[in-house]
């Protein structure tokens, strides 16, 4: 949380999709950060402690794809909520950390903001 607003880190290697996701996050009233791959995402997560949710793509260049990144984050920063989006229509949700949400691309803005609100509400209720 930053100034009472949830902080969401968007991870996607496509600049246009990342831009759209950042805009979506801001329009939903959250603070946004962005990374173009898993390595950059981890550097950002290491550099600050106010990130509440990571919204990541699956297929990305670099040392980790989005699924590995999700597991890495769950292990290292357990409280951070996770939303994963992929161009793959069928993705076995069991391959993701428990409690994370999966959406096939193209996702609707509504579906993502709704999932973010629910995940972040759980957090504040805890």
């Amino acid at each position: 949380m930053k100034n009472g607003r949830a902080v969401v880190l968007v991870v996607d290697d496509s600049a246009l999709i990342r831009m759209g996701a950042v805009d979506l996050v801001q329009s939903a009233g959250y603070e946004s950060l962005e990374a173009q791959d898993a390595d950059e995402a981890i550097r950002i997560l290491e550099s600050r402690d106010d990130i509440d949710l990571v919204f990541t793509d699956v297929q990305m260049p670099g040392t980790m794809d989005g699924i590995k990144l999700a597991h890495y984050i769950r292990n290292r920063w357990p409280p951070v909520k996770l939303i994963v989006a992929s161009g793959q229509a069928i993705l076995d949700e069991s391959s993701l950390p428990l409690g994370s949400r999966y959406f096939a691309k193209p996702y609707t803005d509504h579906a993502i903001t709704d999932a973010m609100a629910r995940l972040l509400a759980k957090d504040s209720a805890a």
Partner: protein
């Protein structure tokens, strides 16, 4: 009556059958000496036919057939305690590639119970296995390629959808925002087909699943109060070609958006029903609402892009469009009749 003799002479016909067998074949005594071998065997494994009769199996060629496991299996077969069925082994020869063999062996049952002989069929499956592996590799490659294409299509659609929604969030004019949101709905309607296609087999789209997903998505982004407005989907178990489903999906998208926007200005409750029925080549798509009904005559609004899309796609699907009043509400029916098409195909004077 024949008396027991140490030398046993095989019938010439038996030997001839072995020698001319199309399948590589060995005819062995109980102690695994060659009585006869087929020409096909000698040719397949580079063995001079003249040198083999009377030799032990393990002395064939350069000794490459001295395979302990094979010898013990053949001995067991000769003693009647085993039978070799499709036993696989590798034949290794110096300076040659290893061949994969499938061996079948059995006792020749010709009534001579005291005189055991073995028929051993040896099939070289190396090339067949390599071809099967190649086929598997190609199939895997194809699956990966299709996945890659689907991934790219999904990403491209995501870029289009994202750009449209960013524009919609930025524009000041409500009308312009409406147009951008409609464009976004149209893109998502086509994307939903893509999602169905990637999970369905044979390139056909199951309409029930598709239209349900589509209407859920439209409802989620356009209906603020779910207790007030609802969309029901009543579709049979039809599956249609991808391009037909794209057209049907876009028609449903336009008509549902239109009903959500205009049919219920002040109604406390409203329901839109999307139904599809087919039998043989005929089908009917109905989008009905229980709202205020369509204004007619001078009060009717100018047809917009949505109307144009519905009309063009209906024509494309060789259907007929009918708008009727439901008291309350409006019923839009799109009907395709195969018989009607045959008549329509006859050119008429303008």
């Amino acid at each position: 009556m024949p008396t027991k003799s140490t030398v046993y002479v095989e019938a010439p016909s038996t030997l001839a059958v072995v020698v001319f067998s199309n399948e590589p074949l060995l005819f062995l005594s109980a102690d695994l000496k060659i009585i006869a071998a087929s020409i096909s065997f000698c040719r397949a494994f580079d063995i001079a036919p003249a040198t083999i009769v009377g030799r032990h199996l393990s002395a064939l060629g350069d000794g490459e057939w001295a395979i302990p496991k094979l010898t013990s299996l053949l001995n067991a077969t000769a003693s009647g305690s085993a039978r070799i069925e499709a036993y696989e082994l590798d034949l290794k020869r110096p300076n040659q590639k290893t061949r994969q063999l499938v061996v079948n062996a059995q006792i020749l049952d010709d009534g001579e119970k005291d005189h055991i002989r073995l028929l051993v069929a040896v099939t070289d499956v190396t090339d067949a296995r390599a071809a099967a592996r190649l086929k598997d590799d190609l199939l895997n490659e194809k699956a990966i390629l299709i996945q890659e294409v689907q991934h790219r299509v999904a990403n491209s659609l995501q870029i289009i959808a994202s750009v449209l929604m960013q524009s919609a969030r930025r524009v000041q004019s409500d009308e312009a925002r409406g147009h951008l949101q409609n464009a976004h709905h149209r893109v998502m309607s086509i994307a939903a087909v893509q999602k169905q296609l990637s999970t369905s087999k044979g390139g056909k789209v199951p309409l029930k699943a598709y239209l349900t997903l589509l209407c859920e998505s439209l409802g989620a982004s356009m209906i603020a109060d779910e207790d007030r407005l609802s969309i029901a989907v009543d579709v049979d178990d039809s599956s249609v070609e991808a391009d037909v489903s794209v057209s049907l999906g876009l028609i449903v998208t336009e008509l549902v958006i239109n009903a959500l926007k205009h049919a219920f200005p002040d109604q406390p409750k409203g329901k839109i029903t999307v139904s599809y029925r087919s039998s043989d080549c005929d089908w009917t798509l109905i989008i009905a609402d229980d709202g205020i009904g369509m204004p007619v005559g001078r009060a009717a609004p100018k047809p917009g892009l949505g109307t144009g899309i519905v009309e063009a796609l209906t024509k494309n699907l060789q259907g007929e469009l009918e708008v009727s009043s439901a008291e309350p509400g409006t019923i839009v029916t799109i009907r395709h009749q195969a018989d009607a098409q045959d008549q329509a195909a006859v050119p008429t004077a303008a």
